[in-house]
Symmetry: C4
Subunit: 232 residues, 4 copies
Amino acid sequence: MTLLKYLREEVMEANLELVRRGLVLYTFGNASGISRDEGLIAIKPSGVPYEKLKPENMVVTDLLGRVIDGDLRPSSDLATHLVLYEYFPTIGGVAHTHSEFATAWAQAMRPIPCFGTTHADYFSGQVPVTDSLSGEEIQGEYEKNTGMAICRAVAKDDGDKVPAVLVAGHGPFTWGATASEAAHNAVILESIARMAYHTVAIARDTFPIAKQLHDKHFLRRHGKKAYYGQSK
Amino acid sequence: MTLLKYLREEVMEANLELVRRGLVLYTFGNASGISRDEGLIAIKPSGVPYEKLKPENMVVTDLLGRVIDGDLRPSSDLATHLVLYEYFPTIGGVAHTHSEFATAWAQAMRPIPCFGTTHADYFSGQVPVTDSLSGEEIQGEYEKNTGMAICRAVAKDDGDKVPAVLVAGHGPFTWGATASEAAHNAVILESIARMAYHTVAIARDTFPIAKQLHDKHFLRRHGKKAYYGQSK
Amino acid sequence: MTLLKYLREEVMEANLELVRRGLVLYTFGNASGISRDEGLIAIKPSGVPYEKLKPENMVVTDLLGRVIDGDLRPSSDLATHLVLYEYFPTIGGVAHTHSEFATAWAQAMRPIPCFGTTHADYFSGQVPVTDSLSGEEIQGEYEKNTGMAICRAVAKDDGDKVPAVLVAGHGPFTWGATASEAAHNAVILESIARMAYHTVAIARDTFPIAKQLHDKHFLRRHGKKAYYGQSK
Amino acid sequence: MTLLKYLREEVMEANLELVRRGLVLYTFGNASGISRDEGLIAIKPSGVPYEKLKPENMVVTDLLGRVIDGDLRPSSDLATHLVLYEYFPTIGGVAHTHSEFATAWAQAMRPIPCFGTTHADYFSGQVPVTDSLSGEEIQGEYEKNTGMAICRAVAKDDGDKVPAVLVAGHGPFTWGATASEAAHNAVILESIARMAYHTVAIARDTFPIAKQLHDKHFLRRHGKKAYYGQSK
């Protein structure tokens, strides 16, 4: 149960980071984390105001989404999270928001081009947008099918390189090695979505930065020879 | 008098929510609530700064707008509220703001299209805009006629499904089962107004989401088989 | 000296209102107040950070701008204020900011059209923009000539009806019955500048509201038969 | 060591100013300061969250960027700072951010025109944008080459007159007589970037203000006959 306690606290903290950074309104959004060894997932309960959330309110489920521990219903987007955990074997956390500018790009159904090094520091390539779901997909297992649409938009091997996607007409999902990193990526995504929005407003014909500059910045942080930060 | 006390406190709280969420400036905006059993309405007084408001300052009127209890003048928009309470028999609260982006759509006299699931979660269809008032309507019972214009823009039966309208050249009115829900809807409206604004700035030719997706999200929250949140 | 103390405190408070509402950055902006009976003006000193300001730092001058009391230099825009006090005989305060959206309209050299009732509640007509100063006017008594350009843009009798102007390529000046009202009008001006900006972004071809609606709202607050607020 | 202590505290404070003004997110951005007499530079460490920073964490290097004192790695942009200190012999501080609007202009690869006196008060001319780096420059000494691109964009003698540049596809660098002034200029730059953005959104065809007005405002603050502020 120590593990559960730790996982819940980490997931709780990731959800609160979304609030602190202004990414969610009322009960919008949700973050989850997974313990792959135990086969357990902790996720925010559905529709509970953030100011009332406590770590013990995080709902714990198995990998099929069955509630293992907790009194509340899990987020209605749980099924989307499950698909992502299965598809990307190395990720440890998922976050979903309706943050203003990332959602605007998702609603406009346009991928976010990489216009600068801020984007390149975190995302190796444009942030893709999913196809729209078909009527059948919407009326069937909607949340699961949302996850499947994400998988079609991001190659299985690119999970670490492009840890974000825009669900068409809906909003962003991000992920990372932990719930905390997933939330962190949601914050960064909103920031680069804002800057890309303003960039095209200044000059519609702006083109993405050169691949060499893009790779330089991504690898300066994430490659084998990374030299950003204090780790060795 | 216990009822009056409760109604005033709820209306006071709804007005303060508009302040907390940055929807009003100085004395802008107003929220009201109704007790249909007693035939009483409580509403913010006209032109009093929010920081000086106390529950007992809420003005209580009958359904014709005559002051029953309270020392202050009611909001100058009271007559608009009265029309809405009469027209939509199930609503319990009304809110009016000049929030920045909803007002911009109202000034541009364009309905807000449903570009995404955030909108669909709350409003079943576009947020409509009223016709402009005629010279006669302006010089006659202006505030009442504003209410009548709202009624022409929203079908009587749609009050629960589209609890918001943009008054052309003026700003938004929202409503709900309670004063608190009316204020909540005002906050959501401003958020989806912002996102719709940014969406068309990214891609002028964005079209609304498919009706199936729209219905899915609205009913996931509001239909008989709703499964969002913790209620059963 | 009691009068001086009161005037300084009021002017200090008006300057702080500009800070609280996010209209000024660092030492930008200035507000002043006049006592016409005594022939004295109090104004913010030049280039002093707001967090260090105290009422006694407000510089007191006569109507020609000569320092009567105070150890600091008055705002470099004092000469502009002096022209306005002379031109509009009923005003008691002046405020100047570089607030973001009002300044953008001033830089674009476009008057702010009245697109809605928020604008009409405060300004009876569009907010005008001055002509650009000539080379001679810039190299001569620049700040005084800025005031003269404002006078050319607003009819002498319209001071109470349109208490704001945009100085081309510079920023807004507002005024009012007191320093406090001048600052209040600066806050309102920024708000309507934002909403007008967003309105034209949604629909370039938006036209101003009808004169009847404009007059209705302005007179609802400012006319002889005003019924907004609590005064009689 | 008293000097080192003072330099570190000043650099620490300049970095915190970037946080207070909303110019940086997480570990983004960096500010440095130089003591030319001692041949020492203090700079923010790489990738350390601002809330954990203490003055003693500032890394002290010599003019070649070799760490003289401190346990952490310096900012990965140190080499860019070094080039600027060598090129502009009178500057005492450098700041780099990814602030939202200045970065958008950098990403759009457009210089910021001087549309108003707010800009003219601080920058004598447009804020230039560098050329894009070549593939060789990116794969070689990237950060040093970024500095060289800045030098090509700003004449050596213009360091005091235009203390800011936009690195194409990256973001702004600013400088000043001290680290504190460099950070101050970063804040001002973001403000004028916002206002210029809004100006062109209102009117695409806005042209820069006349040179006479530009010079008047710049010299009112910075010329030999400056009369803004309290200094003599």
